[in-house]
């Protein structure tokens, strides 16, 4: 149990700070969910990702989302995974979905906009990407 908690804190740090990181910003420490079942599913998804099992990770994250469909961190995780898998359009949709549920979480919103910007870059939509990065900067300030 202790181990799971520790992993989930690490994971949450990772989610909220965006892993790749926005330098110079203090990440908030909020657990990915108050529900242990969701936390353990997210941990399972994370180890799937480390093992390169992206499909299994997606299935596990979707399972977590069925338990907590309004959890923006879960939508964000799935968006990041789709980005890794090269499913850029899906990544954008999922990040936008995460934004819908993270009205009071500027940090996560900035992360989502950055993801949307990257997804648009990959698809060659440069003005769209710029607009998204601007939004990210706006949220981060």
């Amino acid at each position: 149990m202790e181990k799971i908690r520790a992993r989930s804190v690490l994971l949450t740090l990772c989610v909220l700070s965006g892993c790749a990181g926005f330098p110079g910003r203090e990440p908030g420490i909020t657990p990915v969910s108050g529900n242990d079942a969701v936390v353990s599913l997210v941990n399972a998804a994370q180890s799937n990702i480390s093992d390169g099992k992206y499909d299994a990770a997606a299935a596990t994250l979707e399972r977590a989302l069925r338990l907590e469909p309004r959890n923006p961190a879960l939508w964000h995780q799935l968006a990041k995974l789709r980005m890794q898998q090269g499913q850029y359009q899906q990544a954008e949709g999922l990040a936008a979905r995460s934004n819908g549920w993270s009205v009071n979480n500027k940090t996560l919103q900035a992360e989502n906009w950055r993801l949307i910007g990257e997804s648009r870059l990959k698809r060659g939509d440069y003005p769209g990407a710029q607009a998204a990065f601007d939004k990210a900067a706006e949220q981060a300030n």
Binding site: N35, D36, S40, L65, P69, Q90, E92, W101
Partner: protein, 768 residues
């Protein structure tokens, strides 16, 4: 004379000739054996390898803190065929004491791996699962555990649709033991034939009684393969030879499994009921794995004469035959005396009407089949034994079926409509991920025919209006929820078409009405005028953008829903509104596995933003007004107002169709009621479909609808009389959401200097 003949014969039958004779006889026999061998093997292999795709419902996830009532868990367990057990738990059984359960799950191979049998301890508090312990694996309490999913049907080979294949492993051991006790006690030791049985048969022939009895299970299987009822000695000899050949090639288990799937057990019109899989559905409407002892005994007894012992036509004969079988099972120590006593006192338990199809949820399975067809070849679906994991929530399905059937009966009674004249359809989806949780294709929920949920394209009437209003609200500087719309008489003239004069349901015109109220009260004239000024084409294009992937008419009357959509399409149309602006293809399938449990394909969650969050939020707010004070205010008889449900009633010309589409925080549901012959039913959306929706949703414990308020939304007081800015002291003032910058700037005369006690609107409470 006689001596001469004998001499001739002696002369003719030389040793060489004799040898040739025996050799040809042997060759002939060998050829005959070869022929029989090929024939019997072809039959057997053919039967064995055409495996239908098997379709499963969603597995119920269990985790501490989840919303679940004990009776819901009980219903799930009973649908799964879990048994209430005494002290000793085995997989597929449970023990209950008040609000706590101990469950032993069945092992199951899921998409992401196998889950063994787990012993779980669950404790409930009110409507929550307060505590869940995994006794099998105490260190692993956090991961949610899954019950095995309910088997809901198969996709069968076309010429074989009257059979439900079962595997030996899913057949209750009692059935097999009973079968062997009654039909073939020496099954495991003989080589296909029972010499004593044959001797008895020969005796019967000699006595002139014809060929009868004395068949082993293997012989019966052969007889069923070739399906000729003739009882000649030649037939009997062929049967004996083939039975021995079968035993030579296949194991006892394989033969038994084939027998269980092949044996003739009843007749339904011209449909022959073969195999225990179909027979248990046909007689008891349950899968074979869920049969009880009394049912097992009845089916076993039927083998002797399905028509003579037909439990529907000759219940008394069937009952005594069943009890005889039970007696025999006791004598052979297959069951105990106690089991005998309790099973013998049980009723026949046969369902009055045989389910027509092969699935308990044929409408949903049909949807699954259609969605699979875009990725798989029909022949593969019907023969490769694919495992299909779907999104069906049996608890939601059960509730939806009950709500529709019972409400239709009540409506007919209270409105003096001929019984069974009304029909209907229900679609329930998860509002946030687009999974289809329930699909009811008609009142006869087991009927595999016309699927109204998918195929009844009926005019949707006012259900189209939210799209008109959404199209307007996407232009925030032209339209807000407070904008006054014109609800005075309208005549629309178009070249080549008769004049169009839309009227309101209450046959009056309402002058200037605020936009939100025009939608809430479902005024036709103001909606039509708004749609015409936006452009019919534009509105209909938005219908496509939201999810209807086909060409739609763009006549003026299309604005008021003159064109037909199926209930399923309506659900797709409303899905983006329910999910805050995201188009989610309605999915019925999660995963597909090969017959041996290897992952083949996943149908993943897919989202696409099709409406900006602002206008989506405003449209939902207007639809919440429909339920709060508009045409659907009667919903408060079923569901408390704090659920803030959004919905829309739909009524069509001459009251032929009654619709309701609505969503909560977690579910979207669409209900249609009408007649197949399209005669008027004299019901509005509110008096018909909405009552089904309310009944159903009340039992589904919906989450309140609390869409997150987008950043660009602000709340402002407005005066509904003039659409101008007001304050909380104004009489009738409404606190409405606006896209930032679109709040009316001009102040209503109602704004006075004297401040008084602020009246909080329901909308403000919503955001506090």
């Amino acid at each position: 004379m006689n001596k001469q003949i004998v001499n001739k014969i002696q002369h003719f039958v030389t040793p060489i000739r004799l040898r040739i004779f025996f050799l040809s006889l042997a060759l002939l026999l060998a050829g005959f054996f070869l022929y029989l061998d090929i024939a019997v093997r072809a039959q057997f292999e053919g039967k064995r390898w055409a495996l239908p795709a098997r379709v499963y419902a969603r597995p119920l996830e269990l985790y501490p803190g989840m919303k679940l009532r004990p009776e819901q868990l009980l219903l799930e367990l009973s649908m799964l065929g879990y048994r209430s057990a005494g002290s000793q738990l085995e997989p597929g059984s449970y023990r209950q004491s008040d609000a706590s359960f101990t469950i032993m799950t069945r092992p199951f191979i899921f998409w992401d791996g196998a889950q063994g049998a787990l012993e779980l301890h669950a404790e409930f508090e009110a409507d929550r699962l307060r505590n869940l312990q995994n006794l099998t694996n105490p260190g692993n309490t956090a991961i949610p555990v899954r019950l095995d999913p309910q088997y809901i049907g198969g996709i069968y080979p076309a010429h074989n649709e009257d059979r439900v294949l079962v595997r030996l492993t899913e057949v209750p051991p009692l059935l097999i033991q009973g079968l062997i006790a009654i039909e073939d006690r020496k099954f495991y030791s003989h080589h296909g034939i029972d010499p004593r049985g044959i001797a008895r048969a020969v005796l019967s022939i000699l006595r002139g009684g014809g060929v009868q009895g004395g068949s082993t299970v293997t012989q019966q299987l052969v007889k069923n393969f070739f399906l000729t009822p003739e009882r000649t000695l030649r037939r009997k000899i062929t049967e004996i030879l083939m039975a021995q050949l079968l035993e030579l090639h296949y194991s006892k288990e394989e033969i038994l499994e084939a027998y269980l799937n092949e044996i003739y057990l009843g007749q339904d019109g011209n449909r022959a009921i073969h195999g225990f899989g179909l027979a248990s559905l046909f007689y008891f409407n349950r899968p074979v794995s869920r049969l009880g002892l009394n049912e097992i005994a009845l089916l076993t007894g039927l083998i002797k004469g399905p028509s003579y012992y037909d439990p529907r036509r000759h219940p008394a004969r069937a009952l005594s035959r069943r009890n005889l079988v039970l007696q025999e099972m006791t004598q052979q120590q297959v069951i105990t005396q106690q089991q005998l006593i309790s099973a013998r006192s049980a009723p026949l338990d046969v369902v009055d009407h045989a389910p027509v199809g092969t699935s308990i949820y044929p409408a949903f399975v049909e949807l699954v089949h259609r969605q699979l067809r875009s990725d798989y070849r029909e022949t593969d679906l019907r023969s490769e034994g694919l495992l299909i994991f779907t999104t069906l929530d049996p608890l939601a399905q059960f509730t939806a079926e009950r709500a529709l059937t019972s409400r239709l009966g009540q409506l007919e009674k209270s409105r003096k409509i001929v019984p069974n004249a009304l029909d209907g359809a229900v679609v329930v989806t998860h509002s946030q991920n687009g999974e289809v949780q329930a699909l009811v294709g008609g009142r006869d929920t087991r009927y595999e025919g016309f699927n109204r949920a998918l195929d009844a394209q009926r005019p949707i009437g006012s259900l189209l209006k939210p799209v008109i209003y959404l199209s307007a609200l996407e232009q925030p500087y032209a339209y807000t929820l407070a904008t006054l719309l014109d609800d005075s008489p309208l005549v629309w003239r178009e070249r080549g078409a008769p004049d169009w004069e839309p009227r309101n349901y209450d046959k009056t015109f309402h002058g200037k009405v605020p936009l939100y109220s025009a939608l809430a009260n479902s005024y036709n004239v103001s909606a039509a005028r708004l749609g015409l000024s936006l452009g019919v084409r534009k509105v209909m294009d938005n219908v496509q953008r939201l999810g209807i992937d086909r060409n739609l008419n763009a006549f003026a009357s299309s604005l008021l829903g003159a064109d037909g959509l199926s209930p399923f399409e309506v659900a797709q149309l409303y899905q983006p509104l329910a999910s805050g602006g995201f188009r989610l293809p309605l999915r019925s399938i999660r995963e597909v596995l090969t017959a041996d449990g290897q992952p083949l394909q996943r149908f993943s969650l897919s989202v696409q933003q099709v409406i900006d969050p602002g206008p989506a939020f405003l449209t939902t707010a207007a639809l919440q007004y429909v339920v709060r004070e508009g045409t659907a205010d009667g919903l408060s008889r079923y569901l408390p107002p704090d659920l803030q449900i959004a919905g829309k009633t739909g009524t069509t010309n001459d009251l032929r169709d009654s619709w309701f589409a609505g969503y909560t925080g977690d579910r979207l549901a669409v209900v249609w009621i009408g007649r197949d012959d399209n005669q008027p039913i004299n019901m509005t959306g509110a008096s018909g479909a909405m009552t089904v929706w309310g009944d159903m949703m009340a039992k589904l414990d919906p989450e309140p609808l609390q869409p997150p308020q987008p950043d660009n939304i602000e709340l402002a007081w407005t005066d509904p009389a003039n659409g101008l800015k007001a304050d909380e002291n104004c009489q009738n003032a409404k606190l409405l959401p606006f896209i930032r910058g679109s709040v009316p700037t001009e102040t209503s005369p109602c704004v006075s200097q004297a401040p008084s006690e602020p009246i909080k609107s329901w909308f403000k409470r919503l955001f506090e």
